[in-house]
């Protein structure tokens, strides 16, 4: 009987593995960001290049695109590990799947959510976002993209055993994203209107805390079911 490594060791090992894997595949990092940018280019072309029009829709638009970019990158979250059998080994390892999911989601956020957050001010300029909106935009994306990755992980785990799960994943996860979108874009809009943003950011933080607690649990359960299949 081999003794299992401690939780900390396991977490560090899986984190470094995920980071190595994530950053080795340059496309995975660049694609969501490029997607994010190119959709924003469509907005002035498709709606109106008038800065007054753009400023009005900027908070919501940037948030919607962030949401779509996250969704787009989610179906790879567990897929490659499922295909090459790594996921099965992880389940068999006897380690808590909960922490493994957290490690995976954290790295997913690191290579999609964080770049989007950092890119957001640039998009704010392109979308003629009023100055008051920048700080809330970055903070709300920082808090919100974490929840998006965590909630999305549930969908990715539920559809892991399906060959073409991408569209289904979006279908089942979109409704669950509604609150994050409302409070995220609401915070930016409030800041522009001069209303308080503290409560909205607090609620986004609460979503992050709750999803950090519950989402990996659901995702871990779903992964086990997917492997039984």
């Amino acid at each position: 009987m081999i003794e299992l490594p401690s939780l900390g060791k396991m977490l560090a090992a899986s984190l470094s593995r995920e980071i190595t894997l994530g950053f080795r595949n340059h496309g995975d990092i660049a694609n969501p960001a490029i997607f994010f940018l190119s959709i924003i280019v469509f907005v002035p072309l498709g709606i109106s290049p008038e800065s007054s029009v753009l400023a009005g829709i900027a908070p919501g638009m940037i948030w919607i695109v962030a949401l779509l970019a996250t969704l787009l990158s989610l179906d790879r979250l567990f897929q490659s590990d499922y295909e090459d059998g790594c996921l099965e080994q992880m389940v068999l390892s006897g380690q808590s799947l909960y922490w493994l999911v957290i490690a995976k989601v954290f790295v997913h956020w690191l290579i999609t959510g964080l770049p989007l957050t950092l890119l957001a001010p640039v998009l704010g300029v392109l979308m003629a976002l009023p100055v008051e909106g920048y700080y809330p935009l970055v903070i709300s994306l920082l808090l919100g993209t974490g929840s998006l990755s965590l909630i999305g992980a549930i969908g990715a785990a539920l559809t892991v055993a399906l060959r073409r799960g991408g569209l289904l994943l979006s279908l089942i996860i979109m409704p669950l994203y509604v609150p994050v979108l409302i409070f995220g874009s609401g915070a930016v809009r409030n800041a522009i209107d001069g209303s308080p943003i503290g409560p909205l950011l607090a609620i986004l933080g609460a979503f992050l805390a709750v999803s950090l607690l519950l989402a990996p649990l659901a995702a871990a359960g779903a992964l086990k079911i997917g492997l039984d299949h």
Partner: protein, 247 residues
Amino acid sequence: MSWQWFHRLGSPRWFYEKTSPWMPWLAAIALIMFVVGCTWGLAFAPIHSQQGNSYRIIYIHVPSSFLAMAGYYIMAISGAVGLIWRIKLSYMVMKCAAPVGAVLTFISLFSGAIWGKPTWGTWWEWDARLTSMLVLFFLYLGMIALQGAYRNQDTADKTSAILALVGMVNVPIIYKSVDWWYTLHQPATLKLLEKSTIHPSMAYPLIWMILTFYLTYALILLLHTRVEILQREKRTRWVQELVKEAD
């Protein structure tokens, strides 16, 4: 107290045979209640002072909205029971509750639109209740899609049970958030009838119709579940004998 009934309840065969004699009774009572409720609501309830006769759609709209919400919880709870106690029957109820709930949500949205046109002058308004109902509709559609995506029934059952549970956490959050989103930006202008202001002569038929819808929901869910039982147990001897008898 003996727990035998609980285990028996999990047996599809026992459930099917036990509910067989209920069906005609349930159907008859539901039908009578429906006819009585519709006549009461449509013909005898007084005309609304501002909305005239158009308010009468509440006798369909309100009960279907009630059941659309309650149906989600019925689905999620039966999914949880399936996951915890591994009761096959519970998964079947969960699976069958999804399309029934989706149809009820659709009826609620549709009848709301019909009601909205004469009273608010618009088919659709991004009002909190309307929006959260639409999101609920998408949640139901997601459940149906996930059920259909897996070929292996067992996997389909378990994954959609997890999705139902996740949704159960989310439904109140969506409801509250959409509520807040709306009230935060534009204060209510007109909108829905308040319950308390409804006159008893209008409220009694409404309560009657809500009860009717609950009963009808139970009936339809039972019918669906019974079909599901037959389909899943088609290889067992008791189903084959049952089919032979029917021939």
